[in-house]
């Protein structure tokens, strides 16, 4: 599975971008914030968006299984 993803890593770049953006821009930032009650818990509000992005990434993987590698 991992070798398949690595071989076709370009297909996952947009999703990787969003995960990193979410992680660095929101998660790490919220940990830096002190004395603002609930700022970390507020992250729960991003669950629907993250779930949809994850579903799209999984769908991309399933498409690759059906169609074969894109860089062959």
């Amino acid at each position: 599975m991992l070798s398949k993803i690595w071989k076709n890593r370009l297909e996952f770049y947009p999703f990787l971008c969003m995960y990193l953006f979410w992680f660095l821009g929101s998660f790490v930032s919220s940990l830096r914030v002190e004395n603002r009650p609930g700022i970390v818990a507020l992250g729960l509000i991003t669950i629907p968006s993250l779930t949809l992005i994850t579903i799209a990434a999984v769908k991309t993987y399933k498409e690759l299984l059906l169609t074969g590698d894109t860089n062959e």
Partner: protein, 318 residues
């Protein structure tokens, strides 16, 4: 050279002109921002007492701060305001993320469509942000909201390496890959949905991510950007019209870009490109006008009629 097809020749010329122009605007804006800050009234990161439209006391972050935090900002300036390594880190990371997303777009849609997405979203959002930022700086304090409270400007970014007008290039690049991924995600999950439905889904996905990021990065510990007071409803210290902007920018751009292949079929690549960028410019002003009218005029007056007589106040320390 003579063996190249007309579209390849056009793509090359388009690439040189579009990327060249964008680079020129970035170089000129960056020069203005750092070396002629008085022209665009760039607020100082070191001395907050020089802020005007809004002053430090007229910002939302002032309300969120404790007295000790206010004193710290008055003496030391904006948090990490002149931290060059942080600026460099942000710029490099965002450029890399934008670049890998562009590679994906180029493989799937070709050079012309991928470049139209990159440059189009970059300019569309960069111009929109700059319109709000400069509008706030020059017109701040001149208007009141329907509750009779003064609108003290809009907002501005405190950090950035390269600038597009008054928007950091990293913010424009961020808009590019967020818009691209959200439109891609909506298309993957709802392939049978109409264009309007997919654009709506893309806009909502992007807005969902922003709902957490903005309250965190505008906190006094980070101060990535600063908001002026004036909106009557706030979400964890962030004006609601910011989230409306997130949704409508992605929504409108997704529709414009997905219409581009049809425009090409109808008018040819060169004319389609010109019209696409012209529509992008026009749509920028329409989005701004729509948010101003729908939010500040219609919703504001409705709330006022319902008896709301002042905007939401933020508890100190938030």
């Amino acid at each position: 050279m003579n063996n190249l097809s007309p579209s390849v020749t056009y793509d090359k010329r388009f690439g040189y002109i579009a990327y060249g122009l964008l680079l020129l605007v970035i170089i000129f804006s960056t020069y203005l921002h750092y070396f002629q800050p008085e022209i665009l009234r760039v607020p100082s990161n070191t001395d907050v007492s020089t802020w005007h439209n809004p002053t430090f006391e007229q910002t939302l972050i002032y309300d969120r701060m404790s007295e000790a935090e206010r004193q710290k900002i008055r003496t030391e300036g904006v948090t990490d305001g002149n931290n060059l390594s942080l600026v460099l880190f942000n710029d490099v990371v965002m450029l890399l993320l934008g670049l890998i997303c562009y590679f994906h777009a180029r493989r799937h849609f070709g050079f012309w469509l991928a470049s139209c997405f990159l440059i189009g979203s970059f300019v569309f959002t960069g111009l929109q942000e700059s319109l709000w930022i400069l509008g706030g700086r020059y017109l701040g304090g001149s208007f009141t909201n329907p509750m009779g409270e003064v609108i003290y400007g809009s907002y501005w970014f405190t950090r950035g390496g390269l600038w597009f007008i008054e928007t950091p290039v990293v913010a424009c690049i961020g808009w590019f890959f967020i818009a691209y991924t959200c439109v891609l995600t909506a298309g993957k999950i709802f392939p049978k949905m109409s264009l309007l439905g997919r654009a709506t889904a893309g806009g909502l996905i992007a807005m969902g991510i922003d709902l957490w990021m903005d309250p965190a990065v505008t906190s006094p510990e980070i101060m990535n950007w600063v908001w002026g007071k004036g909106d009557f409803l706030l979400f964890f210290g962030i004006p609601i019209y910011n989230f409306m902007g997130w949704f409508f920018l992605i929504f409108c751009f997704a529709i414009l870009w997905e219409k581009l292949p049809q425009m090409e079929k109808r008018w040819g690549r060169a004319k389609a490109t010109n019209r696409f960028f012209l529509i992008c410019f026009g749509a920028d002003f329409c989005v701004m006008a729509f948010i101003l009218v729908s939010w500040f005029v219609i919703v504001g007056n409705l709330l006022s009629l319902m008896g709301v007589n002042h905007g939401l106040l933020i508890p100190q320390g938030w």
